[in-house]
Amino acid sequence: MTRRTTGEPLPLQFAPTASRLPERIVPMRPTDGEGPFDDPRYFFEPWWPGIRAFVLVEDGAVRLRAEALGDPTAAFPELAGVAELVRSDGVVLDATLMVLDARGRPSRTLLERRLAGEGGSCGSGGPGGRAGTSRGSAALVASDLLYLEGTSLAALPFGERRGELAALLSPSSWCLAGRGFIGDGTTVATALGALGFRALSARRLDAPLRPGPARDAWYRVPVVAAPRELPPFLAVLRRLPL
């Protein structure tokens, strides 16, 4: 039995070095929410269509750990550049890893191709430099900060971790702390539905990091892509395959 149900904690093994970072991270697991809600204690952001990845930055080196993957670093060589964007060391980010197509939209196809190991060999081996269009570019949206300077931030409330994250990460075209909104989850859900997102992440601002089931600290709320009276340009954006 190699498959795990999503409810169980996922042990992530790190290489045994003299690291200040933990060898094993038990991630916080979101609770399935029923629908969008408004609550000023919650922080709402898109559920980015990618895979959840933990990015470890230590001594200028970047390591990547993703669910159900041995070593995604090989498939995403670009991510070594995260080290330059992080203004500190001994850092663990909780992030979503995506692959953007030529028009800058997250593409599941390209992501799956990369994960299947096609990106590296096929892409660069293609004739005439077609690699650029077929591989897409990796993008990382960070949503939480787990470690800073080798110290766990688990005891801090999410709002403060998020503030640290924003201060830590210099925004670039491919790696950002995600945009989020406090309080009006239903409005954000409407907007996300129009943009083609499938789900909303709702994190409680005063909740500390809790390994395993998040209970009310974090909800994954499904979003209904309902057509709304939105400006026409948003109707175009709705076609984004998110």
Binding site: D39, P40, G104, R108, G128, R179, G183, A194, L230
Partner: protein, 329 residues
């Protein structure tokens, strides 16, 4: 002459809709519907010519005989059929003329079958699609046949003589027209035996099956061909155009064009702002009513409506205070 073209490459004819490439009649019991065929598709590949690298002149392909070590004229060649390795039999024009050819130009309907092949039926491999247009006197019969086919969900399997040769074809209703798809003969279709395919008894766990089904359902949708483009050809055309105009060719860029993720965030923000505005307008009246009724939001873990207006529920990005710990480092 075309009858002798055994290679079947069809020469370099460039089809246009303007000219029908076949005239004949659909034969259906005692009914005859005179029709014309037009190629329904166009191949849009980009063709190159071979030039001599040093002088850039178009090169010529000469017929060369290695035995005589000499260039010979095409008139000095005969057709040979390789019946065994390096063993040829010469086929003359007379031999070809003796092959009984169908000269009646007809689309003979043999059978009606469901338009969508049943699951156990082999795939219908389409060679070429043609639009079928009725001659003026056949319009009514044409319309009748098309209507009935569409109504019953049927296609007509027929034999057509095109270029003096008989081909298998399927006649399908298509919007207000009919499309004739020529099919490969069964013996032209290769078997899958030689492929290394998974065995029937591959063990698939229910969880894996469920995951695959979920993935598929998440990606399921209607097929709109206009969503797809030949991006390789477009890129190649751009390269050629740039060269023709003497511009430098833009290297295909491995790195993303700046601001992609930023654009996405901007789109998100615009969308949320638009939704907020729409919401605020809608809520104005409702809010007034609620104020009169003196209702306050229900206290609880998840109040249905946020108490203050959306305005001061602002974006996070900045609020948290700096950790003192970071300053010492």
């Amino acid at each position: 002459m075309p009858a002798h073209d055994l290679t079947g490459t069809g020469g370099g004819t460039r089809p246009t809709m303007a000219r029908s490439m076949w005239r004949g009649a659909i034969q259906f019991g005692l009914v005859t519907i005179p029709v014309r065929l037009y190629l329904a598709t166009d191949s849009k590949g980009i063709a190159f010519n071979m030039l001599h690298a040093s002088c850039l002149n178009r090169i010529q392909m000469k017929t060369y005989c290695p035995f005589h070590d000499d260039v010979i004229s095409r008139g000095d060649t005969v057709k040979g059929f390789e019946y065994a390795k390096d063993q040829y039999v010469v086929i003359t024009d007379e031999d070809l003329a003796s092959v009984p050819l169908k000269t009646v130009r007809s689309i003979e309907i043999e059978k009606f079958v469901p338009a969508r092949p049943a699951e156990d039926e082999p795939v219908r491999f389409v060679k070429q699609a043609y639009y079928v247009e009725p001659e003026p006197i056949g319009k009514k019969a044409y319309a009748l046949l098309r209507e009935v086919l569409a109504e019953q969900g049927l296609a007509a399997i027929c034999k057509v003589v095109i270029k003096d040769r008989e081909v298998l074809a399927a006649l399908n209703p298509h919007a207000n027209a009919m499309v004739l798809e020529t099919l490969h003969w069964p013996d032209e279709i290769r078997a899958t035996d030689e492929l290394d395919l998974p065995a029937d008894d591959v063990e698939i766990k229910p969880a894996e099956r469920k995951m695959a089904a979920q993935l598929i359902s998440a990606m399921t949708g209607g097929f709109d061909p206009t969503e797809y483009r030949d991006e390789y050809r477009q890129a190649l055309e751009a390269v050629i155009e740039a060269k023709v105009e003497g511009r430098a060719i833009a290297e295909p860029d491995e790195a993303p064009v700046g601001g992609q993720l930023v654009d996405l965030m901007a789109a998100l923000e615009a969308s949320v702002n638009a939704a907020r505005t729409a919401r605020a307008n809608r809520d104005e009246e409702a809010a007034a009513e609620e104020a009169v009724a003196g209702r306050t939001a229900v206290a609880g873990r998840r109040p249905k409506k946020v108490v203050p207006a959306a305005e001061d529920a602002e974006q996070v990005e900045a609020p948290a205070r700096k950790l003192v710990r970071r300053k010492s480092a």
